[in-house]
């Protein structure tokens, strides 16, 4: 029987990220949706939903005697996570590009401060753990998606104008996590506590 409660459509989405490191983990099941994840950075508003995409490409081995391929060996895998970050914050920019250096001069009494993001001549390889905390309205419990060792790979562009928010495109490719036994991604569906 179709079950409407299993249909997941929600605005209750939170985007988190942190530097990829040993020990990165989803929060305990006791952490309800909406409670801030300790040590993770909340990415703030997003637009257009949060994307998780996994594709395994396969070749074909064909033989004269078979109309269909006799084997389809895996030839590649591409896993990405995507979002459009809606808050213009240099933190988003740093994370989305994985590039550049940041320096902040704190304000003082009567004197403004500033933060500079500087893209230098070298291309850095920075890795992040990225996660989505999604509230499933059907059971009022969280669905959590994490990519453990991700690298920004998307094209970056910003449009500043009067009609639309300046979004920061966020696209990361997932790799096996050298800090966590080669794990790539986790999708955790929380089950409500028993009565």
């Amino acid at each position: 029987m179709p079950d409407q409660s299993k249909v997941l459509v929600t605005r209750d989405l939170i985007f988190y990220y942190k530097v990829s490191a040993s020990g990165n983990a989803l929060p305990a099941d006791t952490v309800e949706w909406g409670t801030a994840w300790s040590t993770w950075t909340d990415g703030g508003y997003t637009q257009g939903g949060l994307g998780f995409n996994a594709e395994i490409s396969r070749g074909e081995v064909r033989m004269d005697q078979s109309l269909d391929p006799v084997a389809r060996p895996a030839t590649g895998r591409t896993v990405t996570m995507t979002a459009n970050l809606g808050e213009f914050d240099l933190a988003s920019l740093v994370t989305a590009t994985g590039q550049g250096s940041v320096s902040t001069t704190a304000p003082s009494s009567g004197v403004r401060g500033h933060t500079d993001w500087t893209m230098g001549q070298t291309v850095a390889d920075n890795y992040y753990s990225v996660a989505f905390d999604i509230l499933h309205q059907g059971d009022d419990e969280a669905v959590r998606v994490a990519g453990w060792h991700t690298q920004p790979t998307g094209a970056q562009q910003w449009t500043f104008g009067p009609e639309n928010a300046a979004l920061t495109p966020f696209v990361v490719s997932l790799f096996p996590d050298p800090n966590g036994s080669g794990r790539v991604a986790t999708i955790r569906d929380i089950i409500e506590a028993a009565a």
């Binding site: 949706w33 320096s103 704190a106």
Partner: protein
């Protein structure tokens, strides 16, 4: 003193440069201004508590500081009304 745990490569306070992991002579109020302005910045109290956690869910004595910066604190979108369970 607050330990800087943010992601700026250099944080300059009163003309002196600090890096992540350094203890910075900065007031909680000024640190809160930096946290409010950008998610780049985070600090740890001498007790080892994240300053943002302290300001958003800390002890009653923190409430005045928390209420001062709460309107602009990074936060999740407000949750919708709880779904009706079957």
């Amino acid at each position: 003193m607050l330990k800087y745990t943010g992601r700026a490569d250099v944080l300059t306070v009163d003309g002196k440069d600090y890096k992540p992991g350094d203890n910075v002579p900065i007031s909680e109020e000024l640190a809160a201004v930096l946290i409010k302005h950008s998610r780049l910045h985070s600090f740890e109290t001498p007790k080892g508590q994240d300053l943002l956690d302290k300001l958003t869910g800390g002890t009653p004595e923190d409430s005045a500081l928390a209420s001062a910066m709460a309107p602009a604190l990074p936060s999740a979108p407000a949750p919708a009304a709880p779904a009706t369970r079957k």
